[in-house]
């Protein structure tokens, strides 16, 4: 029950961001959930290279 409540909190905060920033949506189901996670992890790795590299150059 706590996990469900926590998941609801996450959904609510992400929905806020999506609504306010017009973020791209996502379509996911039980079969594609793991793949979607891996895709976002790979995206984070690429983003971090650019984000933190800029700061390292200071």
């Amino acid at each position: 029950m706590t996990a469900i409540a926590d998941a609801a909190i996450v959904a609510a905060l992400i929905l806020d961001i999506i609504s306010m920033y017009n973020s791209r949506g996502i379509e996911v189901d039980l079969d594609s959930l793991s793949e979607a996670i891996e895709n976002e992890k790979a995206r984070r790795d690429e983003i971090n290279k650019r984000l933190f590299k800029k700061n390292d150059n200071e």
């Binding site: 996990a3 996450v10 929905l15 961001i17 999506i18």
Partner: protein, 141 residues
């Protein structure tokens, strides 16, 4: 210095206006989070925890992706604030790395969603302010 402070104040004021407008949109936004979509298919808390992790990842990626576009401008014109934002992203990344381990066993780590929300709010405020300042012509980008 005075000019910089005036600029920053203008940016933050413009951002508050945009946030107010954005808040009005939230109530009629479509349900598009991974957690909401997965919750329609299962009530299994282990699976929901993985979906929540996916949403947290997307939150981080979307905010960072948008900030990168302004990073050069911020680094040049507001280096202190830029350093602060980078620190926040570093904190968010740490939370996500910890969250990943929990997600693998189907658990949402305690306080992690609240921390992400807090960090995201700070960055979103800045991003919206920058958007508004550029759109109004207050800063050139």
């Amino acid at each position: 210095m005075k000019h910089l402070l005036k600029n920053l104040t203008s940016i933050l004021c413009a951002g508050l206006l945009v946030i107010s407008a954005g808040a009005a949109v939230i109530s009629c936004a479509p349900s598009s989070t991974a957690t909401a979509q997965i919750a329609e298919q299962t009530k299994d808390p282990n699976v929901l925890a993985k979906a929540a992790y996916l949403d947290a990842l997307r939150l981080y990626n979307d905010l960072a992706d948008r900030y990168i576009k302004y990073a050069g401008y911020m680094e040049t014109n507001f280096p202190t604030e830029h350093g602060y934002v980078i620190t926040i992203f570093g904190e968010m990344d740490d939370v996500l790395m910890m969250w990943e381990g929990f997600a693998q066993v189907g658990v949402i780590p305690e306080k992690a969603p609240e921390k992400m929300d807090e960090y995201a709010d700070a960055i979103l405020t800045l991003l919206l302010a920058l958007d508004a300042a550029i759109e109004s012509g207050e800063i050139e980008f």
